[in-house]
Symmetry: C2
Subunit: 392 residues, 2 copies
Amino acid sequence: MAWNRVAVVGAGLIKFGELFEQSYEQMAADAFSAATDNVDLGFEPAQVEAAIVATQRGTLWGQEGIGGNTIPSAIGLSGIPCTRVENACPSGSDAFRIGAMAVASGVHDVVLVIGVEKMRDKSTEEGLLSRAASGHPIFTRGETAPVLFAPFATRHMHDFGTTREMLASVAVKNHHNGALDPYAHFQNEITIEDVINSVPVCHPLHLLDCCPQTDGAAAAILVSAERAEQFTDKPVYVAGFGVATDHPYLHEKTSYNSLKATQMAAERAYEMAGIEPSQVDMAEVHDCFTITEILDIEDLGFVDKGKGGVASLDGETSLTGRIPINTSGGLLAKGHPIGATGVAQLTECWWQLRGEAEARQVEMRNGYALQHNVGGRGSGVSVVNILTNQKP
Amino acid sequence: MAWNRVAVVGAGLIKFGELFEQSYEQMAADAFSAATDNVDLGFEPAQVEAAIVATQRGTLWGQEGIGGNTIPSAIGLSGIPCTRVENACPSGSDAFRIGAMAVASGVHDVVLVIGVEKMRDKSTEEGLLSRAASGHPIFTRGETAPVLFAPFATRHMHDFGTTREMLASVAVKNHHNGALDPYAHFQNEITIEDVINSVPVCHPLHLLDCCPQTDGAAAAILVSAERAEQFTDKPVYVAGFGVATDHPYLHEKTSYNSLKATQMAAERAYEMAGIEPSQVDMAEVHDCFTITEILDIEDLGFVDKGKGGVASLDGETSLTGRIPINTSGGLLAKGHPIGATGVAQLTECWWQLRGEAEARQVEMRNGYALQHNVGGRGSGVSVVNILTNQKP
């Protein structure tokens, strides 16, 4: 396919955590500032032609009647087009893709993507119970996120001999990386024993197998590739992306050993980028639970199916491993403020591709970084974005 | 700006109304069928490469945990990329614009846009009260939609001598048109006296000055212009579009006589299309209240500022008038199922441009039709799309 190429010339995020004292608008504004501050040759806010805002919970629990179109006023850009993109856990990564297509279309030359989420203002229990009470088709049956992912863990253990230690090793690695990331919600090291001895949530997932509830915001500035050098000497380009949906209910799945949406999204992204999985230097993937990262690295083609647990325990996905995964700390340690998550993952990829990831920097041999989310009812949607520092 | 051109080769909607017996997924599927049935030379569902779904209330009141990514499975297209776009009342029209950019980007050649909304499953009172109770910054103060628009009516009456009869004439005209539209929620004629004597809602707006709560769905099929003739001998093209945001609170407005977001969105759309307001043959505009249509036709440049009320009373906006407005019945008679509204308006424009609007057909001298929505907190966002039957 022929498409006009897109560059990322700025990206940034705010410190993730429990941000009760910050408003949604303030968080978005600070993420925007962080991204513009990171534009090497300077950036004027007035250069933004349009914005895409990712937020998932906003209209759910009454925090905001409107999800995205109040953001321009809050960040001093009232007037610009602004659209909210929502796509469950991949909301941020899909907003990035929509923003990239807005630039590729030739309609806008400079597009701001902001992801922002307040997860802590309302309790999960309050939200889920109210949705269940109002007849939600999954929550009425108690199918919360751990319940949806746990069967994949038990099946993986049954079929491939994956152990609780292997699951735990994902959390240990990501907490190690998070401890090196000044933006991570959790910055403490943990051990395999800590994970295994943490309170059970839904067998075989224990508390430290699960990502926390985190507030956060992140932003990225996309421009047409031909204008990239106006903003930076080290442009990062969008190499490709892919999105796939799947049937939303567990009983419709053909396998509990893989997430079909991720496999299809990855295939599309690799084809668009013209690369193989082996050419990816590092990846930020969706580790909402430890089992999810194991499924991801298999479904994205980094390790053979069934070998994700062993690869994690053996350190293949560590900062110095063959394919470093979730160098930022991932959802498990950095946190998972839904709309912000994908944009923050892309920021980490952007830093890695520019050699600016400091203590977390990994070797970038080929110049490709991959970002991935999966979510929705029963992992019903997945988004993969691939960035590169190679000029298209 | 240079952009790859986009054509609309199919569009359709379901009968709007109180659709308690239909699921959200069923409504989306039926709208998709309606659109494909209207593709002249035939259309296979498998030709859809990606979808954009507009829905606004879905995640608000617990009807749906996820807004759009379950739609492909429900319509037999599980696997395709699907993104939810939400932008308050203009959600459907903005989804259309995002779909058009996805095609213009060169990434996808055939994109399905679906708007779907269930407004009646939960009472307005229940939703608004729960949002107010949870601290919503506007609803806590009782600022529902009529309260946000009524001050524009009183100001317009004060400054320009607009009368209640003039306001009422908008509802009378749109009900007349709706009575000719087999898809309209209300298909009955009303009189100026009916409007004036209906129960007061928020002075000077009475019940028949307000659009109803309506369930509905609509769909459109967008393809790259160069492939249009594969699907139809009568393609309609996207001529241009514009979106603008404004400050969201009433106290931040610089005027109560116009909606700045609409003026800016229109200016951008006209510039992109390379036309003047006088070249528009008919328009579907956002008549959530009678005063809104009067503001719209002024802000879109069809009549001078202050003359919207007189123009309406004089019949300038009727089916045989100088600039026919809301030939479908508008939000006032056809209904306003939020995500579906913009896509249904575009379907009406598509029929008018193809000479297929039957009893509602108006004279299309220049071959341009305009679609408009405004909404969000304090009319904080507006979207304008312009369609044409003139090959670009």
